[in-house]
Symmetry: C2
Subunit: 331 residues, 2 copies
DNA sequence: TCCTCAAATGCAACCGATCTCACAATCGAT
DNA sequence: ATCGATTGTGAGATCGGTTGCATTTGAGGA
């Protein structure tokens, strides 16, 4: 048997199409008894509305795109995870769009979902978003960006307070006696990468620590670059703050490969606070981003956007997750 | 300006709607000159077809669901990555559906995408799929399963040869002098978990190794269970094969926490061959699943399915990725 | 009992495309 | 020149709902 359509339900319930439609999508517009009857008949027939047809007529769908550069990066995986959950809770279906770092794909995806009448979209960029093109491309600006945005305050954003995060890391390391604290930057380009690095510089000078940035050329193997620089350093840092957990993993792996022990010889703290870090060796101390909140809030901002409210800029506070990759300085 | 519709293009080009439609979706049915003219006019207007309207009328969309239990598990992340790429290449838009281990969500998702006229769906289950319900639920059986299927050969599947994978691990460990080789199973339930464990038992007995399965109660912390069992073992295994990389990570982290060194005190080999393992400490030796091929082939099987071809069962061969978590036995 | 007005329902156009069928133009063959 | 077979285009129903407007229903008041 084919799927029942709205007319089948209408016939079976002895009412008109439009009444069935209202029974589902505008409950207050129909008499309670009628509504119940229609719903019962519909249930008996195993009827459910076609989201496609709805979207076509209403010009609004429940498909919300989340655009991320790389799902293979556990940070984005966790973000996708929490955002999908938040989306589902609100009745949206999250569409995960993977750009693989290809800028042009972003606007392509945006076009594509726009033509599916998405109510809004969420972008977690790897490189600065070209907002000019976003706006023009589509979507009437109904885009939420996870990360700061340079030039344009009309786009709502959710970010994490990098400066505070870095401060937490410094504080922790200082309390363990570290005074030579270096920084391992990630891929440049994003605002967060920039913010964190900046925050490192500031925090270092505030504490009379000589800023040392390790491995800035960014070839394929970040880990060995960082460790090379560390070894070459006149005054070897006793601690390294990585700009994110993935970098921290790579750095620790490389230290270990060269028989430099973490945290005995050098402490490492990450930035992300991924669950995965709890099963790393050693278990990774890290600045924890409130990823769950980020997902939740992105959806909320999106909904405000579609209600025509003005752009908000939410900044979330990170916390410190102390595990085993940091220890007292021994010298 | 509102988005142009097909009638706008038709008017501007001086032809009928249907001709425009054909110019796009059935090129051979329209005179070349007409076609070119229509396409040019459409381009000038910045016109593109509404996928929603298309899907509604054709009763086929380009939305392909990939249902996975947990994107936070890097295996599924890599799978999603490659499958999304393969899907895009064929003009599909992958919809990632996260079940979080909630069985009932699977059929919900299936219903949902079915009503969006998905041509087929892909399921990478964490627990055995209830095919009865899948079939009945929706989709006319147009589902590809990544993992074996027990009861039903009418569903196409793509699997990896677990037995061979385990053999590779054994071979490698044997060549390093290991004779006490234990196994750390993952979450039970999936066929792959079952297959791998079975394969371990068989491979062990074939090589006169006493099978030792570590940590089978499966509380929250698998790592410490495994290590507890390892410590309690009368004859401590010199090597552990983990049923997947995530388990291997957890086990190594726990070994290390208790000051047991990998690979000096015990070798560990994983199963998945994730890129992430290359940045683990120590870099993880692992049986590598051909994840890229799995994604690609799932899409292909799906396409065959929608063309009415009969179900195929593809089995892929794993390879061994030798890194640094295994070493010669020292006793 | 009749009238009024609001609430509930029916009617029919519409969202943006596809597709079957009918019709016109073109062509080769007789 | 006539005719049947192709080929290309137009007409209009259709996919499965939504929605503004018209109409019916029913409660309350005179």
């Amino acid at each position: 048997m084919p799927e029942p359509r709205i007319d089948d339900v209408a016939a079976a319930a002895g009412v008109h199409r439009s009444t069935v439609s209202r029974a589902f999508s505008k409950p207050e517009a129909v008499r309670p008894e009628t509504r119940e009857h229609v719903l019962k008949v519909a249930a008996e027939l195993g009827y459910s509305m076609s989201p496609l047809a709805q979207a076509l007529r209403r010009r609004v769908s429940n498909l919300v795109p989340l655009i991320v550069p790389d799902i293979t990066n556990p940070f984005f995986a966790e973000l996708a995870h929490t955002t999908a959950a938040a989306a589902r809770r609100q009745g949206y279906q999250l569409i995960l769009c993977l750009t693989d770092g290809d800028q042009s794909l972003t606007s392509k995806y945006l076009d594509s979902v726009h033509s599916m009448y998405s109510p809004f979209g969420i972008i977690a960029p790897s490189t600065p978003v070209d907002l000019e093109s976003l706006r023009r491309d589509a979507f009437d600006n109904r885009v939420v960006v996870i990360d700061r945005v340079n030039s344009d305050y009309s786009v709502p954003t959710v970010t994490v307070d990098s400066a505070h995060g870095i401060d937490l890391a410094f504080e922790h390391l200082s309390s363990l006696g570290h005074t030579e604290i270096a920084y391992a930057p990630g891929i440049v380009g994003t605002n967060t990468a920039y913010d964190r690095r900046k925050a490192y510089q500031r925090a270092a000078s505030m504490r009379d620590v000589k800023p040392q940035v390790l491995g800035s050329t960014h070839t394929a193997d970040i880990g060995s670059e960082v460790v090379d620089d560390w070894l070459d350093s006149a005054q070897r840092p006793t601690a390294v703050i990585a700009s994110n957990d993935a970098i921290a993993f790579a750095v620790i792996a490389e230290f270990s490969t060269r028989n430099i022990r973490v945290p005995e010889d050098v402490s490492v703290v990450g930035f992300d606070g991924l669950d995965l870090g709890a099963h790393f060796n050693p278990r990774l101390t890290s600045v924890k981003q409130p990823i769950e909140a980020m997902g939740e809030i992105s959806i909320q901002l999106g909904e405000k956007l579609m209600n025509g409210e003005t752009a908000e800029h939410i900044m979330l506070e990170p916390t410190l997750l102390v595990r085993s990759s940091t220890g007292e300085v021994t010298s």
